[in-house]
């Protein structure tokens, strides 16, 4: 069967030598969960995932875990992702585009600052007694 070419495998092994790969069972600085129910996929979740893969690849990072999950029940606000930095509360981002996710990646995932404009909700409700 057609496999990866020898050059492809060489490239991968070279990255492994430079320590730029995720070893099985490694620790992560951030986990990014792209919601991929039918609603998410129809709304463009795969484009978001691909954009995230490109960010990680472009910046040669090796401590970011990209994963996915199902429908979160907010289908009208897809595509959605949940960003979880190690030791911090997870943040859900909604109505994403490729540009928005790039901004979130730079500011939140790498910089640690939540991008409030795209987040689902940050304490906007008040209870008055």
């Amino acid at each position: 069967m057609p496999k990866l070419t020898i050059q492809d495998l060489e490239k991968i092994r070279e990255q492994a030598r430079r320590g730029l790969v995720i070893r099985e069972g490694g620790a992560f600085k951030a986990k990014i969960n792209v919601h991929m129910g039918t609603c998410g996929i129809a709304a463009g979740a795969r484009t978001i995932m691909t954009a995230l893969m490109k960010e990680v690849e472009r910046r040669d990072l090796h401590d970011i875990l990209l994963t996915n999950s199902g429908c979160a029940g907010l289908c009208s606000q897809e595509p959605m992702v949940t960003v979880e930095l190690a030791g911090r509360a997870p943040v859900k981002y909604v109505n994403l585009t490729e540009t928005k996710i790039q901004e979130i990646f730079e500011k939140h995932v790498l910089g640690g600052t939540i991008v409030k404009d795209y987040a689902l909700g940050i304490g906007s409700e008040k209870t008055d007694y």
């Binding site: 129809a42 691909t50 040669d60």
Partner: protein
Amino acid sequence: MEDLSLHILDIAENSIEAQAKRIDIRIEENHRLDRMILEISDDGRGMDKALRVKALDPFVTTKTARRIGLGLSLLAQAAKAAAGKLTLRSRPGRGTKVRATFELSHIDRKPLGDIAQTLATLIVAHPGLDIRYVHQADQRTYVFDTRDLRSQLGGISLATPQIVAVIRKAIQEEIHKIRRTS
């Protein structure tokens, strides 16, 4: 869904939800018979008759079956629009096989789309999953299997986006090659 590769991603996510450890994706494009077949089989928990019926109905669905309901009915609709049909074979504990047929040249047949992006997404998000992709375009066949890949990579996780990027490009090229003159 814009194209068939997105439907494949969606159905495969159903399989993962159903605890599948292995997913087989098969695509056949036959110009002589003017036929296209898309098959997705898994070793997940499977469905009984009641759920099988429910799974194809976009309106009757329970909350827990929500994802199964909508995705399959959308693929059934896509097949029907291209003079084909969807069949669903599933038994509890025996996995599920979804088969959609299309008239290849039908004006309403959705394009195949970016299979490499779908496979890359599945691989990076579910590095432990076994995926076998077999694509037959008339006389030519391309086979991609994550188990072969894993044995070639040793202890390197398939969750590494850098590696998946290399794999994605390789898949893209191979699929382009077999479909070139078709």
